[in-house]
Amino acid sequence: MNGNIFETRDLHYIYPDGTVALKGISIGIKRGKCTAVLGANGAGKSTLFLNFNGIYKPSSGQVLFNGNPLDYSRKGLKELRSKVGMVFQDPDSQLFSASVFQDISFGVVNMKLPEEEARRRVQAAMARTGITHLKDKPTHSLSFGQKKRVAIAGVLAMEPEVLVLDEPTAGLDPIGVNELMKLLRQIQDTLGITVIISTHDIDIVPLYCDYIFVMNEGKMVLEGTPKQVFAQKKILRSIRLRLPRIGHLMEILSEKDDFDLDTSANTISEARAALKDWKNRHSGCL
């Protein structure tokens, strides 16, 4: 087994109405890492994700999980979905029960675990996502951010190998975004769960993600570490994406204002290091 948890080979997906959503995607997603899939609206991110857990079956090409092609039989899908946890963008379309506790227990119960173990997992998932105090609240009284956490807990309780989140930060307030991303990072670090997210929130990507795929119109146009991907400024801008704000600032400083700075800085701490370095180099002249 190599280091890829997911692999796709020339994956095509065409919707029943004829829309071609994926046009030959061949990628490998590393185990134990946090991977981001970037792309403008309609680039095919959600479609790709739904191919990962067998909700959609490729029109042609292959999806491999742990090196094995997906098994689309009833049993195979059930097994796959207990290992691939999917968190959807709108928690209201994921939470079916008015009881927080019952909703979180749904996936675990479907795995036919002994009741003791199921209860333990539900408790653990609630503790990890910080929603134990919401256990007895009705779903409809929760805020959007709280619902999002409940949705994550419901998937986390199944103890999957990989967590796939479709736009996890959309609609959250700034602190909510940070808390959620920290939570995901913590889940990845302590439980060793692979995290895959799709997002438009470019600024969080260099902070929390190890690897990036960039999609445009159903094709994979770029991949690499945040540094590698954000170095391809022209391509990113041509497909309705942009640099992280900090990266953009560094670009302007070096290109328009002639600072000789390390322009690969994309986060505040990287920029700080680059500026400190600049200061050290020029301290003699000042």
Partner: protein
């Protein structure tokens, strides 16, 4: 309806086993209807009202307001029972002549209608006890334990959950429409309302599709199985529920034999 839901979640009796509350309510309703006795009805009204307000911590004002809700139906129906038409003025307590006949209250009709009124109010206060102290989710888990067909329980649960999503959507559409003057005149109101209706239909369809996908992702296999929540349960509750109702039955029987009516 929404405030009943809110009170149920904050009731002090919330964590008591819903089965106990359900059994107690069902027994008391049955006794109240069987007894056909004004005193028993009044006792039931005060007992259930007292439990709701004192043990459950529901504000008395709110309960009284709720009790007013069925009042209009109740008054209309007892009025039709109490009012009689007769040729003989002697039979009626209070009567007005209409087209050669007399319309008015007879003693028997009045008695009947008061009994019906109290009986209905007794039963209603039982139901209010249940619904003000038991959130829907707990009630559903009690129904599941009673082996009510799963499909019914699941459907009720989904309807309950998505009524709130629907209300939220209605609210948002309404605000969006009225901020573009959608309800500024009668004709535009009709148009906006129609548009909202069709929009809700499409949204509901999409939502159900998304829900199904999300359920599948968590291994849905045709049944919405979940873990039961732990409730505070004790056999003494059932004993006291039976004891209270036995007492009511005894009281009813004693009063019936005292007035010489048939025992059962």
């Amino acid at each position: 309806m929404i405030s009943i839901d809110k009170y149920a979640y904050s009731s002090k009796l919330r964590y008591k086993d819903p089965m106990q509350k359900l059994v107690f309510t069902a027994m008391t309703v049955a006794v109240c209807i069987w007894a056909k006795n004004n005193i028993i009805s009044v006792v039931v009204i005060f007992m259930m009202g007292g439990m709701t307000v004192l043990r459950g911590g529901i504000p008395l004002r709110f309960l009284l307001k709720l009790l007013l809700v069925p009042m209009s139906f109740l008054l209309v129906s007892i009025f039709t029972i109490a009012v009689n038409i007769s040729d003989n003025k002697e039979l009626l307590l209070l009567a007005v002549p209409v087209a050669g006949k007399w319309i008015g209250f007879s003693a028997a009709g009045l008695k009947d209608s008061i009994r019906l009124f109290l009986k209905a109010l007794g039963a209603v206060s039982c139901l209010y006890f249940l619904s003000l102290n038991t959130p829907m989710v707990d009630l559903l888990s009690a129904l599941r334990r009673l082996r009510i067909p799963k499909i019914l329980v699941e459907l009720t649960g989904l309807v309950y959950r998505f009524v709130f999503v629907l209300l939220d959507t209605v609210n948002r559409i309404y605000i969006a429409q009225s901020s573009r003057l959608g309800y500024s005149s009668l004709s535009s109101s009709y148009r906006s309302l129609g548009a909202m209706g069709s929009m809700l239909f499409v949204k509901a369809y999409k939502q159900s599709d998304a829900l199904y996908t999300a359920l599948e992702a968590r291994g849905y296999d045709g049944e919405l199985n979940v873990l039961a929540e732990n409730y505070e349960s004790h056999w003494s509750w059932y004993v006291s529920a039976v004891a209270v109702n036995a007492l009511l039955v005894l009281l009813a029987v004693v009063m019936k034999s005292a007035t010489g009516g048939p025992l059962l």
